[in-house]
């Protein structure tokens, strides 16, 4: 038996109990942990909803003691657009993974569907677009008089959406890294796990946004 081991040290298909790649198990554990991170942020936002002493407020206009009128600050139409963009990024992420997994197979080889660089790039671009929307939203809020210091709403809103934005940023960097590997040496079906774990993370960040969009923007 010892000789059997000695003869194949280069066999790099590590035995795993579940048959899953270690990185896949780890990313699921990581996502579980992230759920608690965002749960804490979202709970705090909800606990502090309506508790701010001064405006601006998310859904109602507010007249300051000096007579200045602040309008309801959340811009749902614009955020709906950015939400749509982020959801579409999940779609192209799925296509990117499929392109890498099925590299060279009929229907993928040489077709648009098999163009992993395009799909990875598109995912990153849509993520970056979402971040652009967020930058626009943050700047316009500051112009309208809401900063992280203004009130409880400002503190909890900017921290919650800012944390999400930071996660999207990390995801975009991750996608760009995969894209650069793809350009440099080409991602093969063997590398699918690399795209797979990034996709899991990306979808998770999307799902969190759906929760944030619903709880923060849509429900008054």
């Amino acid at each position: 038996m010892a000789s059997a081991v000695a003869h194949e040290p280069h066999e790099h298909t590590h035995y795993t109990t579940t048959g899953l790649d270690n990185r896949k198990v780890a990313i699921w554990a990581f996502i579980g942990s992230e759920c608690m991170l965002f749960a804490s942020l979202i709970s705090t936002y909800l606990i502090y909803k309506g508790k701010s002493i001064v405006g601006p407020f998310p859904h109602e206009a507010w007249t300051a003691p000096d007579g200045h009128v602040f309008k309801a600050i959340l811009n749902i139409p614009v955020t709906s657009q950015s939400t749509f963009v982020l959801l579409m990024s999940s779609l192209v992420m799925v296509l990117a993974l499929a392109a890498v997994e099925n590299r060279g197979k009929p229907g993928y080889a040489g077709t648009l569907l098999g163009n992993s660089k395009l799909w990875l790039g598109a995912t990153a671009a849509l993520g970056a677009t979402f971040l652009g929307y967020q930058a626009f939203e943050f700047t316009s809020f500051v112009h309208e008089g809401l900063t992280i210091h203004t009130n409880l709403f400002g503190s909890s809103f900017f921290t919650l959406t800012g944390f999400h934005g930071a996660h999207v940023t990390a995801g975009v960097l991750w996608l760009l890294t995969l894209l650069s590997i793809d350009i440099k040496r080409g991602l093969t079906p063997k590398d699918a796990i690399l795209v797979d774990i990034c996709a899991l993370y990306w979808h998770f960040v999307d799902v969190v946004w759906i929760a944030i969009f619903t709880l923060v923007y849509l429900i008054k």
Binding site: M1, A2, A4, V5, A6, H7, E8, P9, H10, H12, T13, H14, Y15, T16, T17, T18, L20, D21, N22, V25, A26, A29, F30, G32, S33, E34, M36, L37, S40, L41, T44, I47, Y48, K51, S52, I53, V54, I148, H149, N151, L152, G154, S155, S156, T159, T177, K190, D191, I193, L194
Partner: protein, 639 residues
């Protein structure tokens, strides 16, 4: 990343890390056993340090109206005593065992992510230094280990003290989280063939539960600390009562983390005694399944009891009732374990070796702490006891009497496996009895002074309130405790070089880690064993005695794996190169990445000195260093 490397460049020279020496080999090591040893030494150092802090506290309190230290410094002492013991001593001592034992117990060659493992350690040690150094400059954290906001916000706690605490805990949180992802993956995915979940050693099982507690509890305190950090550094309003903030927000977030943390501290010790008791009773653990289910139940319920730390804030009858009930409920699975351990010893051939003494010590002392814990679960009783020394007595019985006794027992038990030599039984006996007596001498009188109304966290007190004698006894006990720890240190250091040489199976135990040489070679198992029962080594050595005993029926070996062989004792000491086992390369990148993270947080401190530009330079520079190191790390092959 190794699994994707097309042609692993297997260099025997670099791979033969076994027997490596020198500081550089320790800084760059990715071997789980060496990292475990690093954890052990570092955590023991912090344990001594936290003990000395307690020593000063007890010196100050030995007599009424003393002024050994100032009130302000006393605040720093009790804050750092708690913080050090919890985050820098007990958790990392458990982590030392996670590292050393989990791969050995499940029949793996290393953890799932060896470099991430090194990263966890370096974050821990650097974060520990970051938190500990300020006490020498009279600017250590001073808000209690629970750091209640708004007390810890800028208007009430200016100065760097709390900043060190906030940053330090964030840093240590990263270490715990990274380690937890690693161990979850290791336990789920790297078990030897046949090592089903219900055949895993109980220590691995309890560790498994703890890792889930870590990944679910730590994000909550991370966010609570982020709020506090933002309040202090960027002027947000999370804990600003004047802006309408809820004064209970911190308490809720903290204890949602803080109570599972209690189980994070105790479950590894429970796991260790669950290994020790069967070995020294020569009987399988009584009710293995129930012990496992109880552990899971404790972990699960642990998330539903946090507000029993907050009965005194006036949450109302409904909340008080619910949390009282869940708290009483969690006593059940804990009690079940106690009875299982007692039943394990019942009718066994008991050998009172030092590890066994500590294990029995845990059962008796933890039970006392558990009983006073159940007393606290009743809100009317708790209202009388809250913030008194009664509570201090309670949690020292569970943490010292529980966690520390279990861990000390674990050290005596696994020392032969770690070093290849036994610790001195004579000194061990002295250590046990002096610790046992001193521990009770120190902490039992606190029940009484607490019942008489002595509040926690006061730096001195007037004579004539009936507390004088009890405080003196506690302080004498602490002195004795320090002396008994000295015996341990002498034993530890002496036995490392001169202890009696231990065979593979130092104590006649039944689990996999005892089938390999002591200390284990760097690859752990020359051949990955196929596991057929819970105590495979007992089946191997005493087939006549294990036949018919309900420790899970050994099954016929059905798994066919080219790399797996039946469980056997490994005696040949070959190098990994001779066996053709690829070993991970040593690398310094995890240590650099850890240093970058600590500097990233540390840099922020300069904003409070009015040097915003400098702060941002250090923080952003370190962040870039971290990302750069991370890329270099991920693109270099593991083995």
């Amino acid at each position: 990343m190794a699994t994707t490397a097309a042609t692993p460049t297997f260099a025997p020279k670099e791979a033969a890390s076994y027997g490596q020496t020198g500081i550089w080999s320790w800084i760059t090591t990715v071997d789980h056993k060496r990292i475990g040893a690093l954890y052990l030494y570092t955590a023991l150092f912090f344990f001594m340090f936290g003990g000395l802090e307690a020593g000063v506290i007890r010196w100050q309190l030995a007599q009424p109206n003393q002024h050994i230290v100032s009130a302000e410094f006393y605040n720093q002492l009790f804050t750092m005593h708690g913080t050090t013991m919890i985050f820098l001593a007990v958790m990392p001592l458990s982590a030392a065992f996670f590292n050393f034992l989990i791969p050995l117990q499940i029949g793996a060659r290393d953890v799932a992510f060896p470099r991430l493992n090194a990263f966890s350690y370096w974050i821990y040690v650097l974060g520990g230094i970051f938190m500990t150094l300020p006490i020498f400059f009279n600017s250590a954290p001073n808000g209690g280990w629970f750091g209640y906001a708004p007390l810890t916000t800028l208007p009430f706690s200016s100065g760097l003290n709390i900043d060190f605490w906030v940053m330090g805990l964030q840093i240590l949180g990263i270490s715990s989280l990274a380690a937890a992802f690693n161990f979850i993956t290791t336990i789920i995915n790297m078990r030897a063939p046949g090592m089903t979940l219900m055949r895993m050693p109980v220590f691995t099982w309890m560790s498994f539960v703890v890792q889930f507690l870590l990944i679910l509890a730590f994000p909550v305190i991370t966010i609570a600390l982020v709020f506090l950090l933002f309040d202090r550094f960027f002027g947000t309003n999370f804990y600003e009562i004047a802006a309408g903030a809820d004064p209970l927000l911190w308490q809720h977030l903290f204890w949602v983390f803080g109570h599972p943390e209690v189980y994070i501290l105790i479950l590894p010790a429970f796991g260790l005694v669950s290994e020790i008791l069967p070995t020294f009773s020569r009987k399988p653990l009584f009710g293995y399944n129930v012990v496992i289910y109880s552990g899971i139940m404790i972990g699960f319920l642990g998330f539903g009891v946090w507000a029993h730390h907050m009965f005194a804030v006036g949450m109302g009858a409904t909340a008080d009732t619910i949390f009282a009930l869940t708290t009483m409920l969690i006593g059940i699975p804990t009690g079940v374990k106690i009875f299982n351990w007692i039943a394990t010893m019942w009718g066994g051939q008991i050998r009172f070796a030092t590890p066994m003494k500590f294990a029995i010590g845990l059962i008796s002392l933890f039970t006392i702490g558990g009983i006073s814990g159940v007393m606290h679960s009743s809100p009317p009783a708790d209202l009388q006891q809250t913030d008194t020394y009664f509570v201090v007595a309670h949690f020292h019985y569970v943490l010292f009497g529980g966690s520390i006794m279990g861990i000390l027992g674990g050290i005596y038990f696994y020392f032969p496996k770690i070093t290849g030599r036994y610790m001195s039984e004579k000194l061990g006996t002295w250590h046990f009895w002096s610790t046992f007596v001193a521990m009770n001498l120190t902490f039992f009188p606190m029940h009484l002074s607490g019942m008489l109304g002595m509040p926690r966290r006061i730096y001195t007190y007037d004579a004539g309130q009936g507390w004088d004698t009890f405080n003196m006894i506690s302080s004498v006990g602490t002195l004795l405790l320090i002396l008994s720890t000295l015996i341990f240190v002498i034993n530890f250091l002496k036995s490392r070089k001169h202890g009696e040489v231990a065979p593979n199976d130092a104590w006649g135990a039944g689990t996999l880690e005892w089938s390999i040489p002591s200390p284990p070679p760097d690859y752990n198992f020359a051949e990955i064993p196929v596991v057929t029962s819970r105590y495979p080594l007992w089946d191997l050595k005493h087939p006549d005695r294990t036949a018919g005993i309900a420790h899970s029926a050994p099954d016929v070996m059905t798994i066919t794996d080219a790399h797996a062989v039946p469980v056997h004792e490994e005696t040949a000491r070959k190098t990994a190169a001779e066996l053709g086992i690829p070993m991970p390369f040593n690398t310094v990148k995890p240590a650099i990445a850890a240093l970058a993270i600590v500097m990233m947080f540390g840099g922020l401190l300069f904003t409070h000195k009015g040097q915003f530009a400098l702060a941002m330079t250090i923080t952003i520079g370190s962040a870039c260093l971290f990302v750069g190191t991370l890329y270099a790390w991920l693109t270099s092959p593991l083995e």
